[in-house]
């Protein structure tokens, strides 16, 4: 029986028999269904995913007519930053980089963010970023967003003013740890609102909250409350990209509109995002490096399909290094990446990537 050449979740090449490939897909969709309490993929979807991975081509694409708009986090930095943003450090400005993405790479939208891509370090540089966005918007046609990460961990010592909850928890000071987390969440929210309102002043099309909830449930809460404020007081479109498939309960008891945030899977995160006023939601499903690319894509597609089924707003799945079925490697192999891209569109039925 011939073997199918594919990848592992760390990017290394692997050969699977047809039976092994199908077994990986079935095991992965059942794993997602079990963890998320959601339906697994249907038989015809498993067949479709099998065909995507069995296709003997280096790269593949969606059927003509099925194309989707793309949004992207921190992409200008991909050209101008260093390895800290997987960047190639071209001697061009961030504004040049955005124009390259519009008129060379034919992207549908683009965002600009500060080189140190979190709201806290971006705040003191906001007037510079305002002018950058103004310049870009004067020379481009596509929608331009401002992007940054909430990155609430920066508000804890030694980087920020609040005691690190991890230190307090080690001393069994649970209430104190929770109190510090909510103080950090409030200050993070203030900074995000400050920066975003400046972007609204100069007419940016939108904001991308990238890697939301990386510091857990309080981080997620701070972004949801920020979005509420921005939708009530600005004209900004809002994209919320998540950081993981599961909201970490670093606090454990934070609620939003009566729902406990800790432990939420993507389809549950979506409902909070919708209630807050988010315009585009970006679910994340994490890659397991010791499983095949087909296993990872099947699992990611199962979660994202349920998100798309329940959504009333556009869904742009995160399909980058280490998420959305993409191998966890700095230069993800394009064979595996194109298959994840196609599977998200053709099977999960995303509105964009």
């Amino acid at each position: 029986m011939s073997k199918i050449w594919t990848r592992m979740g760390d990017g290394n090449a692997v050969e699977l028999t047809p039976d092994e490939l199908r077994a990986d897909i079935i095991a992965a969709t059942e794993d997602a269904a079990d963890k998320g309490h959601i339906p697994p993929l249907e038989e015809n979807e498993i067949d479709h995913l099998y065909d995507i991975f069995a296709a003997p081509y280096r790269i593949i694409g969606v059927e003509p007519g099925h194309e989707v708009p793309l949004t992207k986090d921190e992409t200008a930095c991909t050209l101008v930053s260093s390895q800290l943003s997987s960047g190639s450090h071209l001697s061009i400005s961030r504004e040049d980089a955005v124009e390259v993405f519009e008129r060379v790479f034919a992207f549908d939208t683009m965002e600009l963010g500060w080189i140190d891509y979190s709201f806290k370090p971006a705040k003191p540089m906001v007037s510079l970023d305002q002018v950058s966005i103004e310049r870009i918007m004067a020379t481009t046609v596509f929608p331009v967003l401002y992007g940054a990460m909430p990155n609430m961990g920066l508000y804890y010592t030694p980087d920020g003013p609040f005691t690190n909850p991890a230190d307090l928890l080690g001393m069994m000071k649970v209430d104190e740890a929770r109190e510090e987390e909510m103080k950090a969440a409030e200050l993070c929210m203030e900074d995000m609102i400050f920066v975003c309102e400046r972007m609204n002043e100069i007419g940016a099309d939108g904001i991308d909250f990238d890697t939301t909830a990386s510091a857990g449930d309080a981080d997620f809460w701070s972004v949801l409350k920020t979005v509420e404020h921005l939708k009530a007081h600005t004209d900004l479109g809002i994209e919320m990209g998540m950081s993981g498939e599961f909201i970490l309960g670093m606090h454990g008891e934070v609620e939003y509109n009566g729902k406990k945030l800790a432990g939420m899977f993507p389809h549950q995160q979506l409902k909070c995002a919708e209630e807050a006023g988010v315009d585009i939601f970006g679910p994340v499903v994490n890659t397991k490096t010791n499983k095949s690319a087909a296993w990872n894509v099947a699992r990611a597609v199962t979660f994202v399909k349920e998100v798309c089924k329940q959504a009333t707003i556009p869904i742009h799945a995160n399909v980058g290094m280490g998420v959305g079925g993409t191998p966890m490697f700095e230069t993800p192999p394009i064979d595996a990446l194109s298959r994840a891209s196609v599977a998200m569109v053709e099977i999960a039925k995303v509105d964009g990537l």
Partner: protein
């Protein structure tokens, strides 16, 4: 990595109508089928045509809403976006801010 997505699944930005569909998603919460239909109806083309660079390249020049090449005299930047706002019957934040700065 992002270029791979653009090739495999992307609409094609201002080569096609990807920017227009994205605007209806970002600023009007339209899901993909609704956004594509809205834009196609406004442009007077089929949904399939929206991702066809042969159709859209000529149509974008005819409508003067920005094309991917640098062509002297064609609308660029805010001029193109103001024409897009009229065509799609939407408000674009940056265009509104520029209008507010012009003399009455």
């Amino acid at each position: 990595m992002s270029v791979m997505h653009s090739i495999a699944s992307g609409m094609g930005g201002i080569r096609t109508a990807g920017d227009l569909v994205a605007r209806m998603q970002l600023n009007h919460r339209m899901r993909l089928p609704e956004a594509k239909k809205y834009v196609a109806d406004k442009l007077g083309v089929s949904v399939f045509d929206l991702s066809d660079s042969t159709v859209m390249r000529n149509l974008r020049e005819e409508l003067n809403i920005g094309v991917i090449e640098a062509i002297p005299g064609l609308a660029k930047g805010y001029t193109a976006k103001a024409r897009i706002a009229d065509l799609l019957d939407i408000k674009i934040n940056g265009v509104e801010r520029q209008k507010a700065k012009l003399p009455a």
